[in-house]
């Protein structure tokens, strides 16, 4: 779960990391209220999970109320990389003396947490040469020795250095306690008076750990379809096209997506109902897909073996019978009882195939 900037900053604040004064607004009335609290000039920051907001013009300076009305309207309606904001953050201007980069993240390759710090902040870390990367030896936090090893390389005076060490330890506490995959501050700025302030916040929480973090659940923003899918234990991703792809296993569904794409089709939904394929789970998967209006045809790719194919066919039939689905279903089903499955679906809009290639061809041509 990727937190929005203001959510990440709320967490930072709870851990004693300085953030600028700000006000969150859903509409222009709230924004006007906020402007009285913060005072012009300030910045308007669109609350989006996608990166590159600055370049996309989703962060704007605002000098007076006239500008506020115009720019708020502009930002709240502005889509960046397919995402539209629900809120805009009003944030006080920062008088930046120096900028740094600091992050702690899950290092998949090394299977540990690592820290990256640089005395060049405010730009994408990938393009920075001068950076320190240190792997953390265990999951018990970061020692002050290790933190000072990092701080030593940041060109800081003594008092700044101590603040920086403290900051690293606060951030690592946050990472471990909240089970984040990433906590990034970029830029981390020194303002007037040697104070370090987090001007941005990028935090990703481990979805699988959410069950033991009730305080973070409020940040989970699922669409109705996503939450329906989640409640059933499915993985669901909405895409641009008009073909829904359903299967048992993430890899298999991804692979089907690739093959549909190669055959000239465009997937509109990805749904993995997991290893436990039952009549009920397949029916529920079709139910989720039925809510996606743009879907013209459903492709089911099921690797059988443990599930009986006639039970799959029964699920499809049930979904037609109670009008849950109206569009054709093309399914590749291998395994036991496939003749029985064919027989069940004989008079429906569903067709069964023995190979995935045949099922994809029929789907794309439809």
């Amino acid at each position: 779960m990727k937190l929005l900037e203001y959510q990440g900053k709320e967490l930072f604040k709870n851990y004693g990391i300085n953030v600028p004064n700000s006000y969150l607004a859903k509409n222009i009335e709230e924004a006007k209220q906020g402007s009285h609290r913060i005072g012009f000039p300030f910045v308007l920051k669109s609350q989006l999970t996608v990166g590159g907001r600055g370049k996309a013009g989703a962060i704007l300076k605002c000098n007076n109320e006239k500008e506020l009305v115009e720019k708020f309207e502009e930002l709240i309606n502005k889509e960046v990389k397919g995402e539209k904001p629900k809120t805009i953050l009003l944030e006080e201007m920062a008088d930046i003396k120096r900028e740094f980069y600091l992050s702690l993240f899950l290092n998949r390759t090394k299977r540990c947490y690592s820290i990256i710090a640089s005395s060049q902040g405010g730009i994408e870390i990938e393009s920075v040469n001068n950076k320190v990367i240190i792997d953390l030896p265990d999951v018990n936090g970061i020692s002050s020795e290790l933190a000072s090893e990092v701080a030593d390389k940041m060109n800081l005076n003594n008092s700044e250095k101590n603040t920086f060490i403290d900051l690293i330890q606060k951030l690592s506490k946050l990472i471990y306690e909240k089970e984040a995959e990433l906590a990034e501050i970029n830029p981390l700025a020194i303002l007037d008076g040697e104070k370090f302030v987090a001007l941005d916040a990028k935090v990703i929480i481990d979805d699988n750990a959410l069950f033991r973090h009730d305080d973070l659940k409020k940040y989970e923003e699922l669409s109705e379809l996503e939450s329906q899918a989640k409640n059933n234990g499915f993985s669901f991703v909405e895409l641009d096209g008009d073909i829904a792809i359903i299967g048992n296993g993430a890899g298999l569904v991804m692979s089907t997506l690739d093959m549909v794409n190669d055959a000239g089709g465009k997937a509109g939904a990805f749904l993995d109902f997991g290893g436990r394929a039952t009549t009920e789970s397949i029916y529920q998967a079709l139910k989720v897909i039925s809510k996606v209006d743009k879907i013209r045809v459903i492709l089911v790719n099921l690797f059988g073996g443990i599930v009986r194919t006639d039970l799959v066919a029964q699920a499809i039939l049930n979904a037609y019978n109670d009008n849950t689905i109206k569009v054709p279903v093309f399914a590749r089903i291998t395994g036991a009882e496939s003749e029985k499955a064919q027989e069940l679906l004989k008079n429906s809009k569903a067709r069964l195939f023995n190979t995935v290639e045949e099922a994809i061809n029929a789907t794309v041509k439809y």
Binding site: V139, S235, A250, L252, M254, S255, D258
Partner: protein, 305 residues
């Protein structure tokens, strides 16, 4: 870090062992619906399941397999070194720790949705005690026609001399099935797991089998996310790995920054992208199939050379 760990010795043993091809296995979480379904399927396949563990259900039995409250009791009589873990994700950390504390050397961690920190903790714990974890979120391991620990169906797998390592469960079945149909049976198949953190990663999996002469070729089924394939390509180059390797990578058409079902299947920028994996594989002279069905052809031409 790479302790000499002979997975075949643990899974099937030596010909001189009295329990050759009949090594004892325990199942943690055997009484749940998932655990019980697959315990029966594993037993039918030939796996010697000697005990189940479910706290609070000690004294009961399932399919004539005794159930105990603790791992200590379960391993007592038969000294099992293998555990198939089927407990729900929130209980994984304590179950895995208990297994390692009681002499289990190979943990097959089936549960999906294990918190990352718990996986890292178990990884550290296992490493210090000479144990190895496969998974979490793995379909398990299978030595075709001899035994399996996990949730894979039996049908796709036949005995032979190739090996399949897969980051995806169903694709492991799919690819093994196409291989079996084309006459390429498998010596061994291992699911790496779909999580960002794997107890046994691709390089370690290669290390497990690199010296075995009865293994002719390796098929690697990968997917987008992380850099396991890139690192494997580096490893193949730097160790001048000599056995033929063929790969498949799922997720070429997946959008960026979206989790595609598996917790680990996500692309950030170019990191984790299919293009990056394919281009690194090509540097290591590993052909990459466009679809699962193409794997046998690629393997055939690779074996000819």
């Amino acid at each position: 870090m790479s302790i000499k760990f002979d997975i075949f010795k643990i899974l099937i043993g030596d010909e001189t062992d009295r329990d050759y091809k009949n090594k004892p296995v325990i199942i943690q979480g055997m009484t749940g619906s998932f655990g019980s379904t697959h315990t029966k399927l594993m037993k039918d396949y030939g796996t010697n399941i000697v005990a189940g563990v479910t706290p609070g259900k000690g004294g009961q039995s399932f399919e004539d397999i005794p159930i105990f409250n603790t791992v200590a009791e379960a391993v007592e009589s038969k000294s099992a070194q293998i555990s198939g873990i089927f407990v729900p994700a929130p209980f994984f950390l304590s179950a895995a720790k208990e297994a390692i504390d009681n002499g289990i050397k190979l943990l097959v961690a089936v549960p999906e949705h294990v918190p990352i920190i718990d996986s890292i903790k178990i990884l550290e714990y296992a490493e210090k005690r000479g144990a190895r974890m496969i998974g979490p979120n793995t379909p398990g391991v299978i030595v075709p026609e001899i035994m399996k620990v996990g949730i894979m169906p039996a049908k796709p797998f036949t005995q032979g001399s190739t090996v399949v390592f897969s980051r995806s469960g169903t694709l492991m079945y799919e690819v093994s099935y196409t291989l079996s149909n084309a006459g390429y049976g498998q010596k061994f198949c291992l699911g790496i797991g779909g999580d960002p953190i794997n107890g046994t990663n691709l390089i370690e999996a290669f290390d497990l089998i690199k010296e075995r002469e009865d293994i002719e070729s390796i098929v690697v089924v990968g997917e987008i996310g992380g850099d396991a394939e890139e690192k494997l390509a580096d490893y193949i180059i730097s160790t001048t790995f000599s056995k033929p390797v063929v790969a498949y990578v799922a997720g070429r058409a997946a959008p960026k920054e979206k989790k595609m079902g598996h917790a680990g299947a996500i692309v950030y920028g170019n990191y984790g992208s299919a293009e990056s994996k394919v281009s690194n594989y090509s540097k290591a002279n590993v052909p990459v199939a466009k679809r699962p069905g193409e794997v046998p052809e690629l393997l055939k031409s690779k074996l000819k050379k």
